[in-house]
């Protein structure tokens, strides 16, 4: 049993060491937990097996003889069943008795646990090697840890999105609520299946698109509901101005107290965005009612503000909470990936000569709705290190989903010679490739978001870099065509 336990220890240690070595090649989640479970389990199982194993008589005899019995036991075992007469029988009896006497006086400490010590030593050495591996930086371990963190993050985000969607559903009709539920369920599934932040961001972008459709639907419904309610209350003028902020502001500026009361009543009968818009419109009455110039101006300003808020509320629809939850998840993913605002410059054609130096400034200009941006880079490329094209990627770079979009390989290559000012007269020209790229603009890739960031940052880079006017024109033309093709 001791020997088997030692064997289990050696075996468990060997497997642990193999696992540690594998963890340097591929991420292994919960590596140390597995080792902590497997090692004692191997010892217990082998020890139990050893305890149940019936030692063969011959093996036991050999072990006893090795302790100085000089083959007495083995010989006695072999002659046990012999049937002899005369001197042979006497000899056999004497031999058996001699063996029993020797076994009775056998010192068990003489039994050499050589193989046990050897296996224990082997096990200890491999355990030491496993422990020593902690001193070696393991990139795969970091990946595994990152993956675990991501899983936890996505799980928590799924819960938050679920709660936010439930909040929004309460202000929607049945059809809209069902659509929102479908959206959230699908998003949760996609988040579970996500391999990394990029996949998660793609899923979120896809959900945002669909959420936008739902928002538009709920916004239209809210506007219609408010218009119907206003018309039913006899406030046709206001009902007709709902789509025009200016006209609504003018109508509200001249609103009397009775109309304001009616608006409040209308608001009470509504729910969601329609109710909030009606309340905003009603609140515009509570201003200085003097007919002086300042009073009129104040009323106009209040009416403008109320109209703006009402219009905004109607347009936002009933998806505010879900939208916010998605934005939070997006921010979290961008923060986890470490490079929130980098364009996918690694897929550029090498002819543009762009470096990544100018890309940093794009981080601050997100108000146009480009969002926080998505990146297919894991690490920040250093300035000038990314000269575009495949094969020049920085260390640690991992190809993402967007790579195929910006593949410089062209399906139908056309070339055009451009003679720059510096080369004019020398007969030199730069040959540029034009034509459609290989990538597809369809599918679930947030092309619109990425392209806007891409275009902005590259254009700013072109302005800062020491380019000739012709080159700048070429860059601007390139992106103009790109954005035109995308209908932006």
């Amino acid at each position: 049993m001791l020997r088997c336990t030692a064997m289990g220890f050696a075996l468990g240690s060997a497997v642990s060491l193999a696992l540690v070595i594998v963890s340097f090649l591929t991420p292994v989640a919960d590596k140390w937990r597995m080792i902590g479970f497997f090692l004692p389990a191997a010892m217990i199982l082998c020890g139990a097996g050893g305890a149940m194993y019936r030692v063969r008589d011959r093996d036991a005899a050999r072990t006893a003889d090795a302790c100085g019995l000089q083959e007495r036991t083995v010989t006695a075992l072999e002659t046990l069943s012999a049937h002899d007469d005369g001197i042979a029988r006497e000899m056999r009896d004497a031999q058996l008795q001699d063996t029993c006497d020797a076994l009775e006086h056998l010192d068990l400490k003489k039994i050499r646990p050589g193989s046990v010590r050897l296996m224990l030593a082997a096990g200890l050495i491999t355990c030491g090697l496993c422990a020593a591996s902690l001193l070696i930086p393991n990139v795969r371990d970091q990946e595994a840890m990152h993956d675990r963190t991501l899983r936890e993050q996505l799980s928590q985000a799924s819960t938050e999105i679920d709660a936010a969607a439930k909040t929004d559903e309460s202000a929607m009709n049945e059809k809209e609520a069902a659509a929102l539920r479908r959206l959230t369920e699908e998003l949760k599934r996609e988040l579970v299946d996500s391999r990394d932040e990029v996949d998660a961001l793609v899923a979120v972008d896809r959900a945002e698109k669909r959420l936008e459709e739902i928002r538009q639907t709920t916004a239209a419904d809210a506007m219609q509901a408010l218009a119907n309610a206003l018309q039913a209350a006899g406030l046709d003028t206001l009902a007709g101005c709902l789509g025009d902020e200016q006209a609504l502001a003018e109508a509200l500026s001249g609103m009397d107290a009775e109309t304001a009361e009616m608006l409040e009543q209308v608001a009470e009968d509504l729910s969601g965005a329609a109710r909030e818009a009606a309340q905003a419109m009603a609140s515009s009455r509570q201003t200085d009612q003097s007919t002086s110039g300042n009073g009129q101006q104040n009323r106009m300003e209040d009416a403008q503000a109320a109209a703006s808020q009402a219009v905004r509320t109607l347009q936002s629809g009933s998806t505010g909470a879900t939208q916010q939850a998605l934005q939070q998840l997006k921010s979290a993913m961008n923060g986890t990936s470490g490079t929130p605002d980098q364009s996918g410059s690694s897929g550029q054609s090498g002819t543009s000569g762009q470096s990544g130096a100018g890309e940093q400034s794009g981080r601050n200009e997100q108000s146009s709705g480009a969002g926080t941006g998505s990146s297919n880079l894991e690490h920040q490329p250093t300035s000038g290190s990314n000269s575009g094209g495949k094969g020049n990627n920085p260390p640690g770079y991992r190809e993402g989903k967007y790579e195929t979009i910006y593949d410089p390989e062209r399906a139908e290559v056309l070339t055009r010679d451009e003679t720059t000012e510096q080369h004019a007269g020398e007969g030199d020209s730069v040959q540029v490739q034009i034509g459609e790229g290989k990538g597809t603009l369809e599918g679930d890739v947030p092309y619109g978001i990425v392209l806007r960031e891409y275009s902005d940052s590259q254009t700013r880079s072109a302005e800062r870099e020491n380019l000739t006017p012709e080159q700048r024109t070429w860059v601007a033309e390139y992106y103009r065509l790109l954005t035109e093709d995308n209908g932006q």
Binding site: Q70, E71, R72, T75, A76, E78, I87, E90, Q95, D98
Partner: protein
């Protein structure tokens, strides 16, 4: 003597024999021990040593202690076979002349063949039947030799001129070849006191032929484990360089290996040794103790060994070690 006495008293009997012989033989304990092993096992012994070490005296003492008829044959180049086997002689009787067989010196229980390598091969061959069959055939008539029967031969390793090396067939008939070493200073001093001074000690009879035969019969009953027997057999096989998977030392230094008689000799004498150690089974240690004496005259070194100065003892030691490691 009962069977139980034979079995359990064996070691004591052996010790008595050894002690009695030691009264007249100073030192040479290993020689005496091996000689007794072979005698009890029923084998012949070849004693090799320089002159004056007491080889002949040892055999005489043995015969006295065992109370067995003893004859000594001094082999010379002119010794004829009939001189040792005996011959028919013409005798005058009352009825007339007739032939009578005159027994030769072979007709004894213990035959000391001194300087056997001096005799011609023809005379040496005359010993073969006696050593193996314990019989002598003269003029077509076979005569049995008395039991127990031993041939204890001696040879001088120094004087090789005018000698006839024993053929392998005859060497194989000897159970043991025992090397008689030169005594140490203490032993030499004891020998002087015994032989030159007035010590007065003389070995007396301890047992007779029947006792010796009983001891032989008892020794034959000692059980041997299959693994021990296999060890002995593998040892003999490992002396054959042409066999597969033999140790490198065999392949490199031996010309030919030992016969199955070597295995018989090893097992018989190991049984005797086991009993003398107070055990009733053969052990690996017994095999390792008797194997050198059984093998050294049955193997032959090749030219490589001779040129490299490798001795037979070295080869046998290496074979024992290799077989032990393999076991």
């Amino acid at each position: 003597m009962t069977n139980q006495d034979s079995v359990r008293g064996f070691a004591d009997q052996f010790e008595t024999l050894r002690n009695e012989i030691s009264k007249e033989m100073i030192g040479q304990q290993s020689v005496v021990e091996h000689l007794l092993f072979a005698v009890i096992a029923g084998g012949n012994v070849l004693l090799e040593g320089v002159p004056g070490l007491g080889k002949t005296h040892l055999v005489r003492v043995l015969s006295r202690v065992l109370d067995l008829p003893f004859s000594r044959i001094q082999f010379t180049p002119d010794l004829m076979p009939a001189d040792i086997t005996g011959t028919n002689i013409l005798v005058r009787t009352e009825t007339g002349n007739s032939f009578r067989f005159q027994e030769g010196p072979l007709f004894a229980s213990i035959v000391l063949a001194d300087e056997i390598n001096r005799a011609t091969p023809k005379t040496q061959a005359a010993l073969l039947e006696a050593m193996q069959e314990h019989s002598v055939t003269v003029a077509g008539e076979t005569r049995q030799l008395p039991e127990p029967y031993f041939v204890l031969a001696t040879q001088n390793p120094v004087e090789q001129e005018g000698t006839y090396p024993l053929p392998e067939a005859q060497l194989d008939r000897f159970m043991f070849k025992v090397l008689v070493p030169f005594p140490t200073l203490e032993e030499l001093s004891g020998i002087m006191n015994l032989t030159v001074g007035d010590s007065g000690k003389q070995a007396a009879r301890v047992m007779g032929a029947e006792d010796l035969l009983r001891m032989r019969e008892t020794a034959r009953q000692v059980p041997i484990a299959s693994s021990v027997q296999e060890y002995a057999l593998k040892l003999v096989l490992s002396t054959h360089p042409e066999q597969p998977e033999v140790p490198a030392v065999s392949r490199k230094y031996l010309r030919f290996g030992a016969s199955p008689r070597a295995a018989q000799s090893i097992l018989s004498t190991a049984r005797v040794r086991a009993l003398t150690q107070g055990r009733f089974n053969v052990s690996f240690e017994d095999i390792r103790c008797v194997a050198p004496a059984c093998l050294r005259h049955r193997l032959e070194l090749n030219f490589t060994a001779v040129t490299e100065g490798v001795t037979m003892e070295h080869v046998i030691d290496q074979l024992l070690e290799d077989n032990q490691n393999a076991h």
